[in-house]
């Protein structure tokens, strides 16, 4: 099989403006991957499938990864004008602006994203895996990615699973519905900030502790505006 760098070059030659980025994997497996731009993903996928040398006809695995927003504290050196009292030429104290380097801790929030990872193999050429990744813009409102189901049918159920558990919306998927959770469910359980509902062990006739927790939750939801419906409340 060609190396990942060679495949990257082949993609760039075949699909102009593909926006492919090499992602190194420092672990012992050395399975490096390619991050592709969502807008050219389907073209890249078709090229990888149909190219005679690469012939990645078997999409083995599709999965999501959640990268939440990260708060990063950095120490930055800043130049600043500071007024200092210095000895003047005639022996008097004079205020004079002086440039000084100060260290400052700045916090910035690196916005997170949802990532979808595809593992490709070739049945004809018997090589692989090639790892493709795609990232959404953020985790809240811009979570659209193109579906690769039209290229590889095996993505059909797996992309539904990623949609269900992570909340990535695949444009062009023929039948995008929840796969494992029920239709009325509202959240995405595989996200890292997912909080389990406290009426986890829902009972049709709550009693004792379950009843207490259910009531507490109800009170809390009345207090806060717009409760996040965990899907269990309706019963």
């Amino acid at each position: 099989m060609k190396t990942v760098e060679e495949i990257k070059a082949a993609i760039e030659a075949a699909v102009p403006g593909a926006g492919v980025e090499f992602v190194s994997n420092p672990s012992a497996s050395a399975q490096h991957s390619l991050r592709i731009a969502p807008q050219s993903a389907v073209a890249v996928a078709k090229f990888l499938r149909d190219d005679a040398d690469l012939a990645f006809d078997f999409l083995s695995n599709v999965t999501g990864v959640d990268w939440p927003d990260k708060e990063i504290a950095e120490k930055v050196k800043v130049m600043r004008w500071v007024t200092k009292t210095v000895d003047g030429p005639d022996g008097q104290k004079v205020d004079q602006p002086v440039e000084e380097t100060v260290e400052e801790t700045r916090k910035r929030i690196e916005s997170g994203c949802l990532e979808v990872v595809y593992h490709l193999y070739s049945v004809g050429k018997k090589h692989g895996p090639l790892v493709l990744r795609m990232r959404t813009v953020n985790r809240t409102d811009q979570v659209d990615l193109p579906s690769l189901t039209p290229v590889w049918r095996s993505a059909e159920l797996q992309e539904r699973e990623v949609f269900d558990l992570y909340g990535v919306v695949f444009g062009g998927h023929p039948d995008l519905r929840r796969l494992l959770m029920w239709d009325g469910f509202k959240d995405h359980p595989m996200r890292r900030d997912y909080v389990e509902p406290d009426d986890f062990e829902y009972e049709p006739t709550p009693h004792d502790e379950v009843l207490k927790r259910a009531q507490e939750r109800e009170n809390r939801e009345q207090r806060t505006e717009g409760p996040r419906d965990r899907g269990l409340a309706a019963g």
Partner: protein
């Protein structure tokens, strides 16, 4: 009844199921097969639309056994997920263990000692034999032969499970493999018992085949039913006996040579037509090949350690990175995808379940067949709901 292509799907050819239009006489009957239908091997539902006896639409409904295995594993240490992998495909816990161990070994670059590799091969192939035997037994049971073939299969499976129990302490939830080796060594008496069981297996397969392969009813119900074309099978990510039943020569044991599979002589049985009968036949022949592998492994089993001496059980923290490891499990390609951030727990833990992905093309195989055949086609996929829903 007319078969028409869907316009939007014509561009992609065989990528989407063809659309079957009812003949216009009478109404469509919608049947929910499951979740407690005895043929669904657990809790699984197929919403079937019938035109008379024929299936015009079939939508599988998943999730009745969902417990978010992946989320639980991301909250536990690497080793703590090992016993939980037993519960994925509870017929083949040892191959699940192996797939997970293989992915972690790839992630950290561990080497498994020779003896442990041989033990893994012996156990995986024993697992394959008992899985294929019982899956054929279930298939025949669904055809209406209540009991007899299934009991023949279970009689043999029982012997293999006894071996598992005496080695690992559990019949089905074995929890036997570790990162860099196996948990306990095999004893001489266990090897003798295994040799005895393996010596009896060819006679069992012969008997099974004499009972079934040329059976008139089995041939009438299976041949030409549930055909899966090889191009669609590859495109839909189908793996295992399903893929080889369609005539595609792809076996992860031969392609990846994971473990020590390059040392054994065995052949890959392939089907011709991709129907239920071919899948049945591929499973029978795979049992025979597995027996050959076990015999070779038992003959060559070297002495030595069974654990990598550098393997760390406590405080196991792989360096940041990711790995995808896959094996040829009895049901297909079972893969584990792990991302480590250097902590005690995996950052991302993903199971690539062959049972779920093999169901992608269930509708394609069932369209146009009688509703009674749906049961057989579904049975020939060979799934376990513990792995489908995770």
């Amino acid at each position: 009844m007319t078969v028409v292509e869907n316009k939007a799907e014509r561009a992609e050819g065989w990528n989407r199921p063809q659309v079957i239009e009812p003949d216009g006489e009478g109404e469509l009957l919608e049947v929910a097969m499951g979740p407690h239908h005895p043929s669904t091997h657990g809790v699984f539902r197929m919403d079937v639309a019938l035109d008379g006896e024929r299936v015009v639409r079939l939508k599988p409904v998943f999730g009745y056994l969902h417990r978010n295995h992946e989320k639980i594993a991301e909250g536990a240490s690497y080793l703590a997920s090992m016993p939980y992998t037993d519960r994925l495909d509870y017929f083949c816990s040892l191959t699940n263990n192996w797939a997970y161990a293989l992915a972690v070994e790839k992630l950290v670059g561990q080497v498994v000692p020779e003896r442990a590799e041989y033990i893994r091969v012996i156990l995986a192939e024993l697992t394959r034999v008992q899985n294929h035997a019982s899956s054929i037994g279930f298939l025949i049971q669904e055809m209406g032969a209540s009991g007899t073939p299934l009991m023949y299969a279970f009689k043999e499976r029982e012997k293999i499970l006894d071996l598992f129990e005496s080695l690992t302490g559990s019949r089905m939830m074995c929890n036997y493999m570790r990162f860099g080796g196996c948990r306990v060594d095999v004893s001489a008496s266990w090897l003798d018992a295994t040799r005895k069981v393996v010596a009896g297996l060819p006679a069992f397969v012969d008997e099974f085949e004499a009972l079934l392969s040329s059976n008139e009813i089995l041939m009438a119900r299976c041949q030409g039913v549930g055909i899966l074309r090889p191009e669609l099978a590859i495109n839909a990510g189908v793996s295992g006996p399903m893929l080889r039943g369609s005539g595609v020569n792809y076996d992860v044991r031969k392609v990846d040579h994971y473990g020590i599979y390059d040392r054994f002589k065995f052949r890959i049985p392939l089907g011709d037509h991709g129907d239920i009968y071919d899948r049945y036949m591929v499973r029978i022949l795979e049992m025979r090949e597995s027996i050959k592998i076990i015999e070779q492994a038992l003959r060559d089993l070297p002495a030595g350690p069974i654990m990598d001496t550098r393997a760390k059980l406590r405080g196991f923290r792989p360096k940041p990175g990711e790995a995808y490891g896959r094996i040829e499990a009895p049901k297909g390609e079972l893969g584990f995808y792990l991302i480590s951030d250097g902590g005690l727990n995996p950052y991302r833990y993903r199971v690539r379940p062959p049972s779920l992905i093999n169901l992608t093309i269930l509708e394609d195989m069932c369209l146009g067949h009688n509703v009674a055949d749906v049961v057989l086609i579904f049975g020939s996929v060979d799934i376990v709901l513990g792995e489908v829903d995770r």
